[in-house]
Symmetry: C2
Subunit: 87 residues, 2 copies
């Protein structure tokens, strides 16, 4: 399924989150990632996020859409990174 993930975590955990999210998704802007993941891979990712974040202070939002062809994306201004290399 198509996944958009945005995180807001304490500075000390940013490096770990960045590394983890890059393993599964494509970085598109700041703390925003997107990509196609199977349900199993998404569960795996969520489990690993759970072991990194402090649930009392950090926040991770995961949007999912089973039908990615329904989603449109438009970039105004500068594109931070090519997002064509979907997983």
């Amino acid at each position: 399924m198509y996944v958009i993930l945005v995180y807001d975590v304490a500075q000390m955990r940013v490096g770990k989150m960045l590394k983890l999210c890059r393993k599964y998704l494509c970085w598109i802007q700041n703390s925003v990632f997107e990509g196609e993941l199977s349900e199993a891979k998404l569960r795996e990712l969520k489990s690993q996020i759970g072991s990194i974040i402090d649930a009392d202070t950090d926040s991770v939002i995961i949007f999912t859409n089973k039908m990615s062809y329904n989603m449109d994306k438009e970039i105004l201004g500068k594109e931070r990174m090519s997002t064509d290399n979907f997983l």
Copy 2:
């Protein structure tokens, strides 16, 4: 349609962008907003974004989905703000 907007703009323009996006969408995390907008309202928002950002350095990504019931959202950790008050 259902809209997710994320922005990454220079510090001096953050205040303006925040104010603008809040007029149209619900703030959910850092520089991430979501909500339901008509095509006309979305055009209006994009036009105003265009007049604020510096297209050479700033970046705004707008995801849209005509069928919002296809989207799921999950929050891991702390919810920054109630997102139930959809427009």
